[in-house]
């Protein structure tokens, strides 16, 4: 078991280094101080980048053993260094001027979050293997199949013979690589790996948001996400919904920061997280595509000259999924989910017969999304902040509300066209699939509050493609940089 933990540590150090090099490449990390501050973000970036490349390597026939994994990390690091020679460093984060009570608020919320992460670390150390049905019914068996049979295998009892064979292989690929580093199957060590990702997410999201928003807004918002009533269930889980929420949440933050600051670094990071989300789960592709489409609409409406990066972001989910679909098609596997077929949208008779399902989905999904016993007040608070920010920063508010509406409609459509009993389908999946939407709401909440509390002129000044990050900073609680 000690060897397993040592192996996991080695894997995580490799991911951290790879992600750090990506951040060096885009100019966010150029010295030890910024490297330390953005270490959490570096890990998540490394996790996502490695995960996407490992998925492509699996589709190309590799097994992603320790040697291949280190080669992929070296490739990412090399690309980061080469990019870093061309890309200038980002402006350093300026300290926020805050009132003493606001600083205490930020410290208090941060300390609360840190204490909870320590408790979760202890829990992860003693935790057993994940008992959730999907984990042992297909997520971990797929990882074991990759580990034992040397990659993606279509024989009986191998990768393609478990539920949802059309799901991309990022998570099983990450777990099987972790098993290679650990020297064997140690499913009970995976909660610790989940803890590392979750802690890196909170640290990384905090570091990203603090570049623009007062810490007094950032840390209470992150604490709100960590202490959601159902968060404890998902934070150390071994299925894909928690990492999907992390990657989609960070891609939404980067999309919002790009919208506000017009700094292409954020568009690049957004693309990395979107690619990762796409290769995690089918919902990742759908939600990611919707996010880029709404972002594109907002950007084109605000400033037509920025359409190129927006269009490139729309292409990210579409192009990322292509190699996986090719692998499925060339190996005789179903290229779409057995639970729904979008081609059914072209059959009005089929849809009309099932109109009741759409009605049921549209009435049930908001109940899952707004449920205070699941997510506290995260979604209503984010919507209230969006309403408040609409006057000064309509783009950001439209991005959140528009994406939520489109994602909810997309989910309702999936439930509508599916042939499986809708009661069972919603009961077994709705809470998990709305998790990403809730996390996006929680992460955009401090940005919206910051915009709501700045004057219209400050808001307009900061969008005018002037790339002055400090101009639109929070005026609430004395921020203003």
């Amino acid at each position: 078991v000690t060897r397993a933990y040592a192996g996991l540590l080695a894997f995580d150090v490799a991911l951290l280094c790879a992600g750090g090099c990506v951040l060096y490449g885009i100019g966010l990390v150029r010295d030890a101080r910024s490297a330390l501050r953005l270490a959490g973000l570096a890990f998540v970036v490394g996790w996502a980048t490695f995960g996407v490349l490992a998925s492509l390597a699996l589709a190309a026939g590799l097994a992603v053993t320790v040697g291949e994994a280190l080669a992929i990390c070296a490739l990412i690091a090399g690309a980061g260094f080469l990019l870093g020679r061309r890309v200038p460093p980002a402006a350093p984060t300026r300290p926020h001027r805050s009132a003493p009570w606001a600083r205490r608020l930020a410290w208090g919320a941060g300390a609360m979050l840190a204490c909870y992460l320590v408790a979760l670390l202890v829990k992860a150390f003693v935790a057993p293997a994940d008992t959730f049905w999907d984990t042992w019914a297909f997520w971990l068996p797929k990882a074991k199949a990759i580990y034992f049979f040397g990659g993606l295998d279509t024989r009986q009892g191998a990768f393609a013979s478990f539920a949802s064979p059309d799901y991309p292989p990022l998570l099983p690929g990450m777990d099987s690589t972790a098993f290679h580093f650990m020297g064997g199957i140690h499913a009970a060590a995976l909660p610790l790996q989940a803890w590392v990702l979750v802690s890196a997410f909170f640290a990384g999201a905090g570091a990203l948001l603090v570049r623009r928003v007062s810490p007094a807004l950032v840390w209470p918002s992150l604490a709100m996400i960590a202490f959601m009533p159902r968060a404890g269930y998902y934070l150390l889980s071994a299925f894909a919904d928690e990492p999907l929420a992390i990657l989609l949440g960070l891609s939404a933050v980067c999309a919002a920061l790009w919208l506000l600051d017009d700094d292409p670094r954020y568009a690049g990071l957004c693309g990395v997280f979107l690619a990762g989300a796409t290769m995690l789960k089918n919902e990742g592709f759908l939600f990611g595509l919707f996010l880029t489409l709404v972002l594109g609409a907002v950007v084109v409406f605000q400033n037509r000259r920025r359409w190129r990066p927006a269009a490139a972001l729309v292409l990210v989910p579409l192009l990322t999924i292509v190699p996986w679909k090719i692998w499925l098609a060339t190996h005789g596997q179903p290229t779409s989910s057995p639970y729904y077929k979008f081609s059914n949208l072209a059959h009005p008779g089929y849809l009309a017969d099932r109109a009741g399902r759409l009605e049921r989905a549209l009435s049930d999904l908001p109940q899952y999304l707004f449920a205070p016993h699941r997510w506290a007040l995260v979604v209503p608070l984010a919507l209230a902040a969006a309403a408040l920010a609409f006057r000064t920063r309509s783009g950001l508010a439209v991005l959140l509300v528009g994406w939520l509406a489109v994602a909810l409609l997309g989910l309702a459509t999936v439930y509508w066209i599916s042939p499986v009993p809708i009661g069972w389908y919603i009961a077994t999946s709705a809470e998990r699939v709305v998790l990403s939407m809730v996390v996006v709401c929680g992460l955009l909440f401090p940005l919206l509050l910051s915009q709501a509390s700045s004057s219209r002129e400050e808001g307009v000044r900061s969008t005018g493609n002037v790339r002055k990050r400090s101009s639109g900073r929070s005026q609430l609680v004395g921020g203003g940089g």
Partner: protein, 160 residues
Amino acid sequence: MPWTRTFVISQGMRLVTRRRLALVLLLVALGSAVWEVPSAFRSAGRDISDWAGMGPTQRELAPARYAGISGRILLGAARIIPPDTLFAVVTGRPTTRLSPFALLAAPSLSYYWLFPRRHTNDLGQAAWVLSYNKNIDRLGLSYSRVLRLTPDVTVAEVRR
């Protein structure tokens, strides 16, 4: 000009109102987190004390315990069925020791645990059969070895 002054004052007041409302939202967000702190720590503490004494094998077998399947069954099957073989899982009716949920979970859990053995749904190809309270004599196969793991669960090597 008076109307400009009125406009500026009104804008300023709106900004102050928005800032106050934003502060209220922030405090509600923080309050909702603080409200959940005791139950979050209590839940984490409960899990830690429940799991702290578990050994490595028990931790790995937690999904089986969750489904109500004895770890002895999976460990025994892994000891008997050789690696690199095809096996099938069949299930019968519930018993006092095997609930309907356990029978529902049994195939997936067995596939999960018995790697690197590969599972098949085609009994004609299986070299081994793992039966959860199913009469294997009615499967139309002949066996070279039949071993009872528990009163309800049998593992049998198919004669080819």
